[in-house]
Symmetry: C2
């Protein structure tokens, strides 16, 4: 079974929003709902700051990349915000294929670095990224990188 | 001694670049040099994706914020990329004043979250952020957040 990966455009906002919504529901994380996500994605997909990848037709996996300016590289810094494959299609290499394409697309946009927020207790995600050459220990300093922060109230 | 904090504009690119360069030099992190940093900042300051704050006149501290799109909030996600006070002016509350203003400016731009990459071994930075109500443990999941990733080759 082939599972082609392609770049999503604004016309894919509904399916991207639905997959991201299902991702959060599966892991008990709040979501504004597939409709709100789709509306935001319609405005963002195809622009400079967001790139989504879809695997399969109909899509069974999604990767969401964002880009922000950086002063440390000639190009932007990329963040892999989300990477999700529906439960029935896991353990078949689809996540790895999405991640490979993430690296290709981030590089093609000139990004100097790819960052991925990962929960400390998410052993599956950590194993997955480490198997693909992505680590949370800075090779320069030998130091682990943590993500601090908090949500802001309007 | 007062130490006012203000938003930098493109005309401040040189001093912002110099402070960021000194920051990396102090901690042994590679830097492209103050000239390259200033050139990049001239193109970025005043735009949507980057906001720098300067403390003191002449400036003795800097904060560098970036913004990227988010689908989880109505507004963008903010990253505090750098926060630096020159050694001679530390332990006088200047960093705290910069951080307070970072939260104000990120909120004013509608950001739904502020994220801060911090080295695991940087006890001073961790203590500083925690004293200001910023943590690397997600209040929802109770799980620490790690930052995975790697630099990309053009």
């Amino acid at each position: 079974v082939t599972c082609p990966v392609r770049v999503a455009d604004a016309g894919d906002a509904d399916v991207v929003g639905l997959l991201l919504h299902e991702f959060n529901r599966e892991f008990g994380v709040p979501t504004p709902g597939p409709g709100v996500l789709a509306e935001r994605l319609r405005a963002l997909l195809g622009g400079e700051g967001v790139l989504a990848l879809l695997a399969g037709e109909p899509p069974v996996g999604v990767a969401l990349l964002t880009f922000r300016p950086s002063v440390w590289f000639p190009g932007p810094a990329a963040t892999l915000e989300e990477l999700y494959v529906v439960p029935a299609r896991r353990r078949a290499g689809i996540g790895g294929r999405l991640l490979d394409r993430v690296l290709v697309e981030a590089t093609a946009r000139g990004a100097g670095t790819l960052e991925i927020p990962v929960d400390e207790g998410d052993a599956d995600a950590r194993r997955f990224y480490e198997a693909h050459g992505l680590f949370h220990v800075d090779p320069q300093s030998g130091d682990g990188r943590l993500l601090y922060g908090r949500d802001l109230e309007p």
